[in-house]
């Protein structure tokens, strides 16, 4: 039929350089010291992720995994190279961010949903699902400072998963709320995994990757050193064994 664009994410020669600032820089320092120390968080990454692929990323702390997610999400811009994403990207990085404590849960859903790229009418259509999923009941009309931290987290998660992403970026914290909500959120994530969504997961939980992802990337010191199937995991951590 029609030649679909099947590529979800394409990075061409992406590098990211950070300037190390030991303290917050000031104007005076800038003029006195000139250039700062620099640090390459990513170097020359070439990566193509097809639509519907589930990719797990492993690597030690500071190997550039989170930077990569940020670049894919568009939160930060690479120093060089080009990034192309096809479809709406939603990252489950900081779930509670963007909530205003003095507003009610209801109002926060609108503000937060719009920040995630939903239109007002999209939210109108989904708000009942979101409230039901977050399981807030009568608290939805209460200001957020009355919420327990678990409730806020649940609300954040509910909004993010109802933002209807094409590409989902998960970073470490896959757990929110109590056991029953964890089950619910895991089920929701699994639903995303089953659907034709593109998912990129960064986590140290190798079992999670082994069960969820077909493709695994390993990063080391800002470079992509392994790109393959589950076998990458046992290369990365020889002590880990796949539970078959």
């Amino acid at each position: 039929m029609k030649p679909k664009n099947t590529i979800a994410i394409r990075l061409i020669n992406v590098s990211k350089k950070y300037e190390i600032h030991h303290e917050k820089p000031t104007l005076v320092e800038k003029f006195v010291k000139g250039r700062n120390e620099t640090f390459w968080a990513l170097r020359g990454i070439n990566l193509t992720i097809q639509k519907g692929e589930k990719v797990g990323i492993v690597g030690r702390n500071g190997s550039g995994k989170t930077t990569l997610l940020k670049i894919i999400a568009g939160i930060t811009t690479p120093t060089s190279g080009s990034v192309r994403t096809n479809g709406k990207v939603v990252s489950l990085i900081d779930l509670e961010a963007g909530f205003h404590m003095d507003l009610t849960g209801y109002q926060n859903i609108y503000v937060n949903g719009m920040l995630l790229g939903l239109g007002k009418r999209d939210i109108d259509a989904r708000i009942r699902d979101i409230i039901a999923f977050a399981d807030l009941k009568q608290f939805i009309d209460a200001p957020l400072f009355t919420y327990s931290s678990g409730m806020a987290l649940r609300l954040g998660f509910a909004i993010a998963v109802h933002a209807d992403p094409h590409i989902l970026l998960l970073d470490e914290n896959l757990s929110a709320g109590d056991a029953s909500f964890q089950n619910k959120s895991r089920a929701k994530l699994q639903e995303f995994f089953r659907k034709k969504k593109t998912i990129v997961v960064v986590t140290h939980n190798l079992d999670f990757i082994a069960t969820m992802c077909r493709r695994v990337l390993q990063f080391q010191k800002g470079s992509l050193i392994q790109d393959g199937g589950i076998e990458v995991l046992s290369n990365y951590d020889p002590s880990w064994k796949a539970r078959v």
């Binding site: 029609k2 679909k4 000031t26 939160i75 961010a97 109002q107 920040l115 007002k120 999209d122």
Partner: protein, 423 residues
């Protein structure tokens, strides 16, 4: 009208040209007029089109419809060849009514994704929009006026006018507006959440200032300004708008770092929503102020115009400065302190407590560097009929306002890509 495997002419290349979300008419009958305009816009961005495929898919995947226009070629290309090429402007009006009329019941009152695939004329454009230079320009010139094989004469709309503001499309712009409004609402709600008197505090602040300054200042001046209290209050209201906006907007990006680190959205909504919420407060306070003004009997027909002139220049300048300072403050946190310090001086450098007529003429040029002068003079002229800014003052003030606004927008645009690195 449903075809699964349309065969295309060899020279036509297929290119997905955009996805658009829309909702079929709210009433019982589906009306496609709402998206007719949008499809036309999508089509106009493309140079040369020989056909389109439109896929309408209900968002919950329950039904979808594919429409190919013109009818798929396959049986006898020779017959249809005569119809090519179609001029894009003609297509929507031929095809869209068909979609509208044919839309069956399950298509009503739902959300859809409309994806449009445009069949470009490969031989002419290579499926691409030509770059506007040298050799390419000749090509596009030839395409401006085109005769089809029936001898009909068409003019195509080449300009892609629909990308406005840093390459934003209409949908993005609407989203920007919605987001801006939501953030402004948040700002306003949060400010007066637990206050008893709500936004009356907005009046109280300048009122107190007015009482003090209005008592002390006239003791030192020989020739007082007419209706000094009203004159003062006008200036104070405007100044409070400006100083509150600037001092709150400057560190706003840093304060909202959790948002910046979380999601991708036009960063400019953060400072602009603060300005907008202050503007709403300001206008509300001014409307209250109108009540005593009506008794003063100084308002004329021109007042509204003067006020509007003052307001527009003031808001423009506030936005420009705030974008500049908030963007720079991310990297250099000194900017915030600098702004706080300069606001104190700026208050006295602006004709609020005094009128410009009280300044010796040889020093007047100093005020030309302060863009707030004209704005506030306009407002004072509107309220108590004091003198308007002179042409030289106005010209230099406007020039600086424009320069700062453009500088602010450019700086913000450039810096916003790297906010995350510094937070």
């Amino acid at each position: 009208m449903t075809y699964d495997h349309p065969v295309l002419p060899s020279h036509a290349i297929r290119k997905p040209s955009g996805i658009h979300k829309f909702r079929m008419g709210k009433r019982r009958k589906p009306s496609g007029r709402c998206f007719l305009g949008k499809v036309t816009k999508m089509l106009r961005n493309k140079i040369f089109v020989v056909g389109v495929t439109i896929v309408i898919k209900r968002d919950d995947d329950i039904c979808s419809q594919r429409i190919r226009f013109p009818e798929p070629i396959g049986t006898d290309p020779g017959i249809l060849a005569g119809k090519y090429p179609f001029i894009l402007a003609k297509i929507p009006f031929n095809i869209l009514p068909a979609i509208v009329v044919d839309a069956p019941e399950p298509f009503c009152r739902r959300w859809y994704t409309l994806s449009l695939m445009i069949l470009n004329d490969d031989q002419r454009t290579g499926g691409k929009r030509p770059a506007p230079k040298g050799k390419e320009r000749q090509v596009s010139h030839r395409r401006d006026h085109y005769k089809d094989t029936h001898g009909n004469h068409y003019t195509t709309n080449l300009a892609s006018k629909y990308r406005i503001m840093n390459g934003m499309t209409n949908t993005e712009l609407r989203h920007f507006g919605e987001l801006l409004w939501a953030m402004t609402e948040k700002e306003l709600r949060a400010r007066y959440k637990h206050t008893v008197f709500g936004f009356l505090w907005l009046i109280a602040n300048p009122l107190l200032q007015m009482l003090i300054i209005g008592f002390v200042f006239p003791l030192f001046v020989k020739e007082p300004v007419k209706y000094y209290d009203y004159f003062l209050f006008t200036g104070l209201l405007a100044w409070n708008f400006f100083s509150l906006s600037l001092s709150k907007a400057t560190p706003s990006i840093v304060y909202e770092r959790s948002l910046i680190k979380k999601a991708v959205f036009p960063r400019a909504v953060i400072p602009i929503s603060i300005i907008l919420s202050n503007l709403i407060n300001y206008v509300a306070a001014f409307i209250l102020f109108l009540v005593p003004l009506l008794f003063l009997n100084t308002l004329t027909l021109m007042s509204a115009w003067y006020f509007l002139c003052g307001l527009i220049t003031l808001v423009l300048f506030t936005i420009g400065t705030s974008l500049l300072t908030s963007a720079l403050n991310v990297r250099y946190r000194d900017i915030n302190f600098f702004v706080q310090a300069i606001l104190i001086i700026w208050f006295y450098a602006t004709p609020i407590v005094y009128a410009l007529s009280q300044i010796p003429p040889r020093l007047l040029w100093l005020w030309r560097f302060n863009p707030l002068t004209s704005s506030i003079q306009f407002m004072q002229a509107a309220v108590v009929g004091s003198e308007l800014p002179g042409p030289a003052m106005l010209a230099s003030n406007m020039l600086i306002t424009l320069a700062i606004t453009i500088l602010g927008i450019l700086t913000f645009h450039r810096e916003s890509k790297f906010f995350d690195d510094w937070l």
